[in-house]
Symmetry: C2
Subunit: 372 residues, 2 copies
């Protein structure tokens, strides 16, 4: 299960853990995985969770056992590590350059690889690499349905790229992929935007069908819209990410409760010298200094202390603003922080300590976080 020669010490007791350290609560993780798996099963969706959120092979195995058809990955490293858990991988990032393409073509033969892309240039490079490696590679055409990040802008462009894929000897055109990252809102606000998404998607699907290139796969992603995916007409596959752990953002958006957050950072109070605040040993190099993309201030939520604002992050110092609470932590006291954005905090950890409440049950390497 380990991908590098990291010495794996026996799991220490909770009280002996050196901070800052990332914790994953196993019962919550299992509950989150089961919930998404059940939703996808109930609606007949193929479920392809994105490994970028956890980057942990053991978590990928959990998702596969719960019914995931395969995994989504964003980097070559994620593909290499997750190959062991997912005989079926979708790279949701257009590959360029021979170094990247060579790594993808060198994935184990048993991996069924698909790639999402949005340009003839990217497709030609992939076609050439697949031909040289004599490897079949699936292609999804990425369409932009409003996020304005990547993706072909018109149904006509989608048809052009799909046709190139269908005509390339070693490529298998499979369908459409989109990312609905612009729908970052509370569930009750989503009905109209999701209807608009369905309408835009229908145009792409119709044009492909008219061109004799019907999309067998229609893969959609976005944690915010996850549990409304059945309102998106024509969707066949759901890519999920953050929901495996949840975080302060998904809680603030009403997609989960704080009790669903399976990932926290355990930190120690190291200074209370400045009046009205306390300093913990988790800063931007542990939590990541990302603003909350929802209502709320600060860089994370302190478990059990809703009145505390994590108002500032230096690299190894986190500032707790105590002006909204009567709680006065003592030096050496430990606290747990739910990060604003769990994916980037996980990416900062070498490993996570797996707990059941305050019982340490395992340690997992974050094996896919690197590049090499």
């Amino acid at each position: 299960m380990l991908n590098r020669a990291v010495p794996e010490p026996a799991a220490p007791a909770f009280a002996a853990l050196e901070t800052p350290v990332a914790l994953v609560d196993l019962p919550r993780l299992e509950r989150n995985v089961a919930r998404t798996a059940e939703y996808c099963r109930a609606h007949g969706f193929a479920w392809r969770p994105h490994a970028k959120t956890h980057k942990i092979l053991a978590v990928a195995h959990l998702q596969r056992r719960a019914g995931a058809v395969g995994l989504t990955v964003a980097t070559a490293r994620e593909a290499e590590v997750m190959a062991a858990a997912g005989a079926d991988l979708l790279l949701a990032h257009p590959p360029f350059g021979s170094a990247r393409l060579d790594r993808l073509m060198a994935l184990p033969d048993e991996v069924r690889l698909s790639v999402a892309l949005d340009s003839a240039e990217s497709l030609r490079g992939l076609a050439e690499a697949a031909r040289a490696a004599r490897r079949r590679v699936g292609v999804l055409v990425e369409a932009d349905l409003g996020t304005r990040r990547a993706g072909v802008q018109s149904p006509a462009c989608a048809v052009d790229v799909a046709r190139l894929a269908a005509d390339a000897p070693w490529l298998d055109y499979r369908g459409l992929m989109f990312y609905a990252g612009h729908l970052r809102m509370r569930p009750e606000q989503q009905r109209e935007p999701i209807a608009a998404l369905s309408a835009a998607l229908a145009e792409f699907r119709g044009a492909l069908e008219d061109a004799g290139l019907p999309a067998e796969v229609v893969s959609g992603g976005s944690t915010a819209t996850l549990l409304r995916s059945h309102e998106v007409a024509g969707l066949t596959e759901v890519r999920t990410g953050t929901d495996v752990f949840h975080d302060r953002t998904t809680a603030a958006l009403g997609l989960c409760s704080e009790d669903d957050c399976a990932y926290t950072v355990l930190a120690t109070v190291v200074s209370t010298a400045v009046p009205g605040q306390a300093v913990i040993d988790a800063g931007s190099k542990t939590l990541s200094k990302e603003e909350l993309r929802a209502e709320g201030r600060g860089y994370g939520a302190l478990v059990g202390h809703p009145g505390v604002v994590l108002s500032g992050l230096y690299e190894e110092h986190g500032i707790l603003d105590l002006s909204g609470t009567d709680w006065r932590p003592r030096l050496g006291e430990r606290v747990r922080v739910i990060p604003n954005h769990v994916c980037v905090s996980v990416h900062l950890q070498e490993r996570v300590v797996v707990v059941r409440g305050e019982e340490v049950v395992d340690q997992w390497e974050v094996g896919a976080r690197g590049r090499f």
Copy 2:
């Protein structure tokens, strides 16, 4: 030099580098190191660069050879890795908990260790650990001169902690430490704030002297004020960080030119589908999504393209806003990005590729970035 069993391939040619990848320009690095070393030598300061910025043993060796008296570290891991380069280490972060203290006490015997702290509680834990390990440890009392992060708030408190240190059998009280992170301004704006800093510092130094506990070491840090350190009365030691690489922030503050920035991220344009923008394969997991703490928009500067704004970062996608430029990158084109805050971007890399312009000369592991 390597701390983990990472396979170290032969350095690839520049054109063959897989992106995103961090580059360190060796001539610029050497020039930055020489400039700070010369400044400290000219003014008679002990120079103790902070390893947190680079986390690379080879860079620490460069700094030591240029005259650094030792290194500053923030984590136990940094201390363990940098022990090989600095017989003299200052831990600028109050240690709490037996796990952390045990690691510090287990540093090689030849390491002269000092710790900066701001409380009797932290000092008592350190004193106990030093006694148990029969290891002499130096103590600097951290004073808050205006940053409001950590540090004792009054000269009387400084005297209390200094006395505890002086009285502890295995501890050696050495003096004062402060971090002037609040002076984040252009050099021409600094005269008055530095005068205020000197005045505040004089009160702490005076109280300690009056108590029979004169500060032999007065250690100050902040890249922004670095080259005005000689205006701070009583300073004996200078801790520097960002200046080893420089970044978009120090350039925006007028502390260096863009040509001094030794660290860049090489990235590839992977999508131009959305009109008016382009997407690169460096996102928040490579650059870190930190706002610029100076004038200017976006999450990094594109070398050679001042009109481009890196307007958005997803995890593995960076959005280039092209509305302010005529430049239209082609797909597959490579660009170099100077991050807003170099310390957090380095922390995201397993290794850096060392270059002279576009010639690859070496690869260095970012050996101290982990926790374990």
